[in-house]
Subunit: 248 residues, 8 copies
């Protein structure tokens, strides 16, 4: 049950004050004992709370999904395992799972997406992180343009997509190893670039540190960085920026 | 001489094709020998090229300022020393220098600023970096709200400014030491937060690494990070986001 | 053997120079009374010896538990596996095992707990470490107040528990990722905060290093740090501080 | 503004849905009473605000001292330079400066100190940090016992002071290089040990990192760590613990 | 589209200012001839594309091999698993797999190799990386001289092979642990040495970092370094250098 | 080929300038007598070659053991697995395996050991590394005194063994976590201390780095450090030192 | 006095065998007491020994220059200060000093340079290191093409120089900050790229570590890395490769 | 006044018991207030206490020298500045200062040195550290053989000194940059090698860390490592080992 709906129901007399107050009593947060779901989030941020599935105990995860589904009518979970999908499917059979990105979600039908976000990767190994970003941005209402495997060691591949990339309100650049993709893109476009280092690589890539440092030290303007492999964070930021561009 | 002006002058016959071509011949970049000024930047990005003054040789800096001033009618320089100000002032007496932020600029008069960016700091020692960010955003057309010394060790100071911060299209959170400011702010607002770690601190702050890691690992949504002490980068990003929000 | 005696023995020829020199070599250690020292420590610390189970060989662990149980009538073991519980249960069927914290203990019945310690966590993933701390403090005689999932990205959850936290003689703040919980709490309370970084996180959290640095660099007063995931150490310190407060 | 009132206003048409939603956004923060909170903290912490002088601008420092002196009748400043002492002395001639610790203070006369804190150092080079800790603890009302140059490479020096150290409510162990002092002391006493790593050393001491890691990894119970060279933080914590012990 | 044409079109009113500005935005990229560039690169590099097998999905790998085989008549894959060999063998039965180096290749028959490359290792544990280098260089047309287990702790072993090593156009020095092999070789030969650190070792070898630093800091002239365990990169570089030497 | 001969050959025209220059290139290496050098080393080191079993391939290990056994009548292998023991036992049934230290050896009967080496550990978890050291020293002819679990958090345990430790020609101090054992011992004895950091610990012990730094930064005199977990290296050094002391 | 000259003098009877032998007895190295000049180097490597001036004592440097000048008729010194230039100029007035690169040299007149090496930089701040590389390669007989300020954040600047870069036998890519230049170049050319990270940058560039990691982790083929700021090493390697290409 | 002398004077009646006791009352340590001189050291270790001058305050250093001179008849100080030499010379005019090593000492005349220690360096820049080691070993009674500038990049220089090095009871190998000297020497000699990394180098040498790691990871047997630039520690260890070899 969503907040706006509750308010409308009061206005229209479809709901008593007592009922509404009871439903809103958990507004600041709902205390599940082991967890405190922040239902107030969606009011503050405009985006509903999501679930970081990795490491969540089997006994708690379904309850969290159910509670969020009830409040928001949809749920986005990240870093979910196939096993967790099985768990959730029992309770919420409409849940959809993408094993590549680890996204486990129930999404409102007919959601309208507007504003464009481009998601680029240096190589094919960066795609899982890129998909986490892309599907997060889509969940939060963006159109996403996927432009994969355009790493800077073959610069013509990236340049041939230049015009397409320039049309986005925000570009997410996902790259491991030396991670230079973001810098070259930021030199080509006018809108912000969110750089996501990935843990792809070996040896002195130090599980993504090399790419992270590359991105932080970019000599280009207009590039921001998130944590290694943090596709979700990039997708969320992109949705925020895209929303700024789409506001009327 | 700005590009748009050249094109208009051709259209209006105030300028011959030969003259215009000569003026535009350096459009992709102007080769100063030791440097290649990227005049095409302003077409691609909408913002003119700027100058990172630190370490620039005395014999080259004035020429760079002059060349950029001629093309764009204004120049923004960062990390300038008092000595560099003296150098530039001789050639461009209207140059303005702020010793706290190190900003050395010539700005077009009557620039209209629209859209709000908030710049917050954890402590007073973070102000030089915050000012670099604030003045960069202002140069690129934003209104800036300065909210300084609201570190999380006295959380009431930050909370009392909550409504003001929530109004910005983008918030820049500048903090050293443990750098937690960005996380708390990102939990309060709906728009993107750009976190700038500063090298303020001692011992295990490792010249800003502690604050940098805090920001990269933020448990809040909607937070992006730039390099340690990179106020300029944050200001540039904020101006890009603010521009998205102000587009009509 | 005292110096005067040695000197007299030399003078009287009862002792050779070589003998005297050898005796003087032992002089600073002679009067330490090792046995007394050992006994004394056990008396003073006031807390019985505990067992770090992780890595202890199967053939030795039961013997260690039996020996401590015989001496103290109770045993606290940390980082125990389910397999180790099986081993101990055979010998000491009253042993109790908590798989979340890894605490494997036999505790005296009717233990009176006095003085309050608060244990807070940033997220639900920090609970195993928090429970190690909480149960250790309880074993050593504290009342423990658990306040979990109050991370600073949703600061209202923490603020709503402020009064409860302020009542404790000592607060344990357990957090991974960016680890800012301790700083915010230390700004709210008058008593010491023990910060425990956890290895929760990914990428640039570097298995708890990010949280550790945050805590060491806290801009708040009254915050001390222990090793990553060291719930036991925090619980022990809290019990020491609580004992100071409860002394009559 | 409470939820029930908002709901009634909607029902009665006194409030639009948009207004109601905006008010609900502020809900978790509405009743915090910031001013009260601030006042409350200052009351509870029981210790007056102090000044970290290092890096404070000449134009601001005297004003800060004057303001705090007016409010509290005393001021404690740390990491002050001789130059800063000159500045303050002009305004507050009773100010006292200790060049070794960098403490610059005005202290109330006749302050009664109770409860004992012991401050130990490994070598003579650790004394500046130890004095910062000792004088901070004294300023906040502790009696301090200084036991310097008792590093573990000549263990008899430390052992000969054992009884004196055991009498303290809290022991501060200050050491650089390998930093093992805290561990040995924690094995001798019943009360908490606060370990302060110092940047004393060279080569692989990495400006205090070696000592810091030693202290975090201590195999002793009852030892907490603060930032490298953070004598003030240790003194503050010691004063908090000592206050717990001295409460009646 | 050239600048002169754009300017004329403006003058003649055939083009609006907006259109012109947009075209100028594309100007520096317009004449790159991406397709040509791509083709050109493939022609110039002179070496066919290769496959980094590790992490490639089962459904894609055979297709990649088939496609490259069709184009080039041969395929070099690195870091292949035995399982991947089984997959490829089904489609391309002539594929050859070396489990030590992980090389999985189909090579043109009768390839003529010219110019000599020497591959040296410090120990036997470095051989897998050395073989990746050696077989890569062979695939790209070099004769390879393998000189293994000549680490500097028994310097006579290396010195006894000096003349043989001196004959190579390029020497690849593969070593883990302290990684000093490259330095000693570079002091003996006149041609370039490519140093490959390996992750062989334990403790403070930090998975190859120790060897990497040794190589980067070599006090010898004529030594270049590649990533830890990057035998392929060293083999490729050696083939480039050897080709320079063999050009006629 | 000696210089004088080369010069005479030039003078007499028996040798061209080019030939002479080539021969002079080899000059500094010509007279090393590699075979002799090797033989000489083996004679001088006085200790037979040993085997680092970890990672050695099953097909090679038995051959290595057989070859060394034939040459020396005994073999010392370190870091052997139980599986490797099975392999060797088939060929050399008298082989003895110690699963704790991983030592797999065949030792000459009736070996006379002289001179004393003490091996101390901080805790029981350090024993595997200590045994590798102890058994290596024994294999190379030392008497070894094992003094385990005497960590500095209970300093009386170590002090009670002081006289025994002082009798050794060399002391090996094995410790993980904070690794302070070596410093305290070096302050008590007159002979060299070899400190072995172990990877025992968790969190900020960084797999032995904390203990390693402690040992390198020891404020005691007479302490040398080897790699993390390198019991063999410590045992070898101890045997060298002990041999110096036992020479007649 | 050069070796070839000695041999010719013997052949021509201008020098006795005794004289020649005496002169050659110092061949492998000349012992200056404090330093051992390796005159044999030029025979082995084909390039004369050079001088790393930084840190060399005033009393020794002129003697080293004189000795090398006598042997080789030219001297290359790197990292020289203006003060050192004054010292050398007194003895060798023909010495030439370049304050930007720190090169202090005496070069044979009329040296023929053949084969082309390209030296590229990302920014203008990288020029000192680039000049050290360029002048070293020139000293060792290469023609050098300087292509500066073509960093990847404005990729059109680099692309416009593509054909020129492709003509070189070897490309040196000098870059600080994120250091991505080498990767993009290696994707464009057929010959080896030597990447030189510079310490240009701030914050998380960690004095060149970021650029170093970028280069080591390059996803391009044919790229080798040298130490941070090691222009000399890159120039030397380039000269070796160029020599391979120019051999007849 | 030395301990042995005191004992003899008692025996011979030249001194009363009272006088002797007074003189010995400080035997365990002498408390100077700010420092606790450990006079018992010389009994335990056979070597008198020494002074680490760096950072010692001007008001304390002369007193420390005087006190140690009185007890031992000689003093060894390390890392002394020229200014400290001036201070000491006033009180103890026979003090001798070596500005290269920073050794400031008063040494007993006619000291007999026996047993040989070899001190080798990789380059001339390592000599200050080597001299600290050499003069320390000499002070403690060793003959020292200096073999400088024999780095492994010109291996023939080292090999030509092989026999001389093999004669030492212990070899100290001092090297910066890649630090491989110790490994090659340990492969040549039978006695222990003490490796001293120096902070010589730049870039990725990380102030000696590269050399330190090389030494810790040495693939040679019989090599122990001390802290970066710790010449004193190496000299002390060498003297201990040499003493073992010279004992009768």
């Amino acid at each position: 049950m969503e907040i706006r709906q509750i308010l409308e129901d009061i206005k229209n007399g479809r709901k008593s004050l007592e009922e509404a107050e009871k439903e809103l009593k958990n507004l600041p947060y709902e205390d599940l004992g082991y967890a405190k779901l922040d239902h107030h989030r969606s009011l503050r941020s405009g985006f509903p709370e999501t679930v970081f599935c990795q490491g969540k105990a089997d006994e708690f995860l379904p309850q969290i999904y159910l509670s969020l589904f009830e409040k928001n009518g949809e749920v986005l979970g990240t870093r979910a395992s196939a096993h967790q999908y099985e768990l959730i499917k029992e309770q919420l059979p409409m849940a959809v799972y993408d094993p590549i990105s680890g996204i486990l979600k129930i999404e409102k039908e007919g959601k309208i997406r507007k504003g464009k976000v481009a998601v680029c990767t240096g190589g094919t190994a960066d795609i899982p992180v890129a998909e986490e970003a892309a599907q997060t941005a889509e969940f939060f209402g963006c159109q996403v343009d996927r432009i994969y495997d355009v790493g800077v060691a073959g610069i013509h591949r990236l340049l041939s997509k230049r015009e397409q990339i320039c049309e986005a309100n925000c570009v997410i650049a996902v790259a491991g190893m030396e991670g230079a993709l973001g810098t070259v893109i930021a030199g080509l476009v006018e809108n912000p670039v969110i750089a996501v280092p990935t843990s792809v690589g070996y040896g002195a890539s130090f599980h993504g540190v090399s790419a992270l440092l590359t991105m932080l030290n970019s000599c280009a303007n207009g590039i921001a960085t998130v944590n290694i492999d943090n596709g979700y964070g990039a997708g969320y930021l992109a949705a925020q920026m895209n929303r700024l561009a789409c506001k009327e």
